[in-house]
């Protein structure tokens, strides 16, 4: 009888420890995700990016964007090149996205799944919010030098339903991210490389390479430059300001 009591107490204790461990792991996953976001970009900043679409035959098309971001869900990107796209700007406020084309002269609502540049990158890649804004860490596993985070989208409006994010333990920066659709199909893989000191305490990858099994042979590369903290008014992230974004530079 006594042995039976000890057995149940031990079983209960083990269950409690396992439960607590699961909670701690879940918390750690989200905390790591927040740290990743913090290391990838400051709260309010500007940056320049070059997007290069590479076709199977090696031909390339390049786009240059000026981007400002504030807080967790406000972002604007302005195309500086090529000339055919110059002056186009995209605004993201949470789940809402708009595209402004100078000739059209008014912003149009667009979706995260569309692509204003063509190729492998879509709008949500260009106007990416903090990972912790859009995803919850459901699982974390220790892979030696890296953590593997299994992330689940918080809402259906997020472009990719699940992410598998590999995070370097030392730097707490992402190295590889696999993006999955709600069906479980792999849509694309992102590879962060070339860690660079941008100054002012910003040390992060300066290159993002993307490929997709849906577009075999096609790749896209994003190069980051001049990532810099910048104070911005909330009014910058409004439709009425979209035609004036260039004046922030």
């Amino acid at each position: 009888m006594k042995n039976k009591k000890v057995f149940f107490i031990t079983l209960g204790y083990i269950a409690l420890v396992l439960f607590q461990a699961t909670v701690v792991l879940a918390l750690d996953g989200n905390e790591i995700l927040r740290r990743v976001d913090k290391n990838m970009q400051p709260e309010s900043y500007e940056m320049y990016r070059k997007l290069i679409n590479i076709e199977p035959d090696g031909s390339k098309k390049e786009f240059v964007l000026y981007t400002v971001k504030k807080g967790r869900d406000k972002m604007v990107a302005l195309f500086l090149a090529p000339a055919s796209e110059k002056g186009r700007s995209t605004l993201r406020l949470g789940d809402n996205m708009w595209l402004y084309i100078p000739n059209v002269g008014k912003p149009l609502r667009i979706t995260s799944l569309q692509s204003v540049v063509g190729g492998v990158f879509n709008n949500s890649d260009i106007l990416r919010l903090d990972y912790s804004v859009e995803y919850n860490a459901q699982q974390i596993s220790d892979k030696g030098d890296t953590y593997m985070l299994d992330l689940k989208a918080k809402t259906v409006s997020v472009a990719y339903d699940r992410l598998k994010m590999q995070v370097d333990k030392k730097t707490l920066l992402p190295t590889t991210i696999e993006c999955y659709a709600i069906s479980g199909m792999l849509i694309k893989s992102l590879h962060y490389t070339k860690i660079k000191d941008f100054g002012d305490g910003i040390v992060r990858p300066s290159m993002l390479e993307t490929d997709s099994p849906l577009h075999k042979g096609y790749r896209s590369v994003m190069i980051f430059a001049k990532v810099k903290k910048k104070e911005l008014a909330d009014e910058v992230f409004t439709l009425n300001y979209l035609s004036k974004v260039d004046e922030l530079r």
């Binding site: 320049y48 098309k61 008014k106 609502r109 799944l113 692509s115 063509g118 190069i223």
Partner: protein, 449 residues
């Protein structure tokens, strides 16, 4: 900044133990695997060329070739080609658009010029105009004032904008083209807020009409006022528009746009004009101005399917448009004008018909009820930068329509190639049945700089 394939593993080849060597080799492979993948490439980003400049300019040069089959016996063939019995019309044209700005501190000067010329079987035509030229001052992000010629595109509709009270009417077949602006004085105030109302923005525009200044807006020698209040309430864009002045009658507008799903947007516009004036042709060939209360509205949606087809559908009711009978009367008047010309050589009726055409009967979509649908697919068959599309406009009253398949390719940097075929269909006395041409093939090449 320059990136090149890593060569760091080469110096590690001097390891003496086979096991260590193997381990190093494996490490090297792991380290350079991305570099191996992209070893033939070098990506550069010279930021200096994109630094902000005080003076910026750009634009495009365009060449366009059009071939039309003339719709013999149609009202607009009679009006436009009177006395010229041609069955086809070939047109070759070119245009140049230059835009830019000069910015210094909080002041900037913005401009857009357009010039074009065309030669066809009927003759030569050209134009050059200032579409936009205004000075703006922006002491803070929440306040901008501007003075000069500026284009307004109020409203959420893609093909039509009943609430765009100071917009230039756009061509629904090419709604994204630049248009000439109006000379105005404007202030723009923006306020971002926390809570369900995220943004409020007020745009107030003073639009004068004098001789040589905004003459074609309406009655001259007046000062007009137009106001737009924009609200982003939760996730919905809402605009309230208002126009008052003596050049046109007072009018009120409301529009909204929002997403039901991430890939499904809906929008609507409603315009109320208590006293809308319309010039109407009478049976005897005289015209009268009729005043009515007009409720015009537009309902639209934009949907992105899983296979990357974007669909835009809009229904437009224009209370100020002409009824089917009124349009048919105009077409009959043109036929009478031609009969008079052939019988007596007098072009009095044809001249009157041309005048009525300019006053409203000849504008694009002069009727009351229309359906617009556009389908475009992004990069089918993995062909990057290639977008086929199909656009149709249906006059719901007389059931005539246009259908326009097109192919657009933007794969060569700064070049855009567009091939379009327009097919117009309709019976006698219908809008598309009485257009000058029954079809049109068009090739357009643009180079952006």
């Amino acid at each position: 900044m320059r990136f090149s394939p890593s060569t760091t593993c080469l110096r590690l080849m001097s390891c003496d133990s086979t096991g260590q060597y193997f381990a190093w080799l494996l490490s090297c492979l792991l380290i350079i695997s991305p570099a191996l993948l992209y070893a033939d490439e070098e990506f550069s980003f010279e930021l200096e060329e994109f630094e902000k400049k005080t003076l910026e300019w750009g634009g495009y040069a365009e060449l366009k070739w059009e071939h039309m089959d003339i719709n013999h016996g149609s009202a607009f063939a009679r009006l436009n080609l009177s006395g010229q019995p041609i069955s086809t019309l070939d047109r070759f044209g070119g245009s140049l658009q230059i835009d830019g700005y000069y910015a210094k501190g909080i002041i900037s000067f913005n401009w857009l010029f357009k010039a074009s010329a065309q030669q066809d079987d009927l003759g030569w035509a050209d134009m050059a105009d200032i579409y936009k030229a205004y000075v703006s001052i922006k002491p803070a992000p929440l306040f901008t004032a501007s003075l000069g010629k500026k284009l307004y595109r109020w409203g959420k509709g893609y093909a039509w904008n009943p609430v765009g009270f100071i917009n230039r009417p756009k061509d629904p077949n090419d709604p994204e083209e630049a248009l000439e602006g109006y000379t105005t004085a404007e202030i723009d105030l923006i306020k971002s807020l926390s809570g369900p109302l995220q943004t409020a923005a007020l745009t107030a525009v003073i639009l004068p009409t004098w001789k040589d200044v905004n003459e074609n807006f309406g009655e001259i020698n007046n000062i007009n006022l137009a106001v737009k209040l924009y609200l982003l309430y939760r996730d919905t864009d809402i605009d309230l528009t208002w126009y008052t002045g003596n050049s046109r009658s007072t009018r009120y507008g409301l529009d909204f746009s929002g997403n039901l799903e991430p890939n499904f947007e809906i929008h609507a516009e409603l315009a109320y004009i208590p006293s809308q004036k319309r010039i109407i042709l009478q049976d005897a060939g005289s015209s009268l101005i009729r005043e009515t209360t007009a409720f015009s509205y537009l309902l639209g949606l934009r949907y992105l399917s899983k296979n990357d087809i974007t669909t835009i559908i809009e229904y437009y009711h224009n209370d100020a448009g002409y009824t089917e009978e009124e349009v048919a009367r105009f077409f009959q008047f043109v036929a009478d004008g031609e009969n008079q010309f052939l019988a007596s050589g007098s072009d009095v009726l044809l001249k009157k018909a041309s005048e009525m055409s300019l006053k409203g009967y000849g504008k694009p979509q002069p009727g009351r009820n229309y359906l617009y649908a556009r389908f475009t697919q992004k990069e089918p068959f993995d062909i990057l930068y290639f977008s086929p599309g199909l656009t149709t406009i249906v006059n719901l009253e007389d059931k005539s329509f246009s259908i326009i398949p097109e192919l657009v390719y933007t794969g060569f940097t700064n070049w855009e190639l567009r091939l379009r075929f327009s097919y117009l269909n309709g019976g006698t006395s219908t809008e598309y049945g009485e257009k000058m041409n029954s079809n049109k093939l068009e090739l357009r090449v643009r180079y952006f700089f």
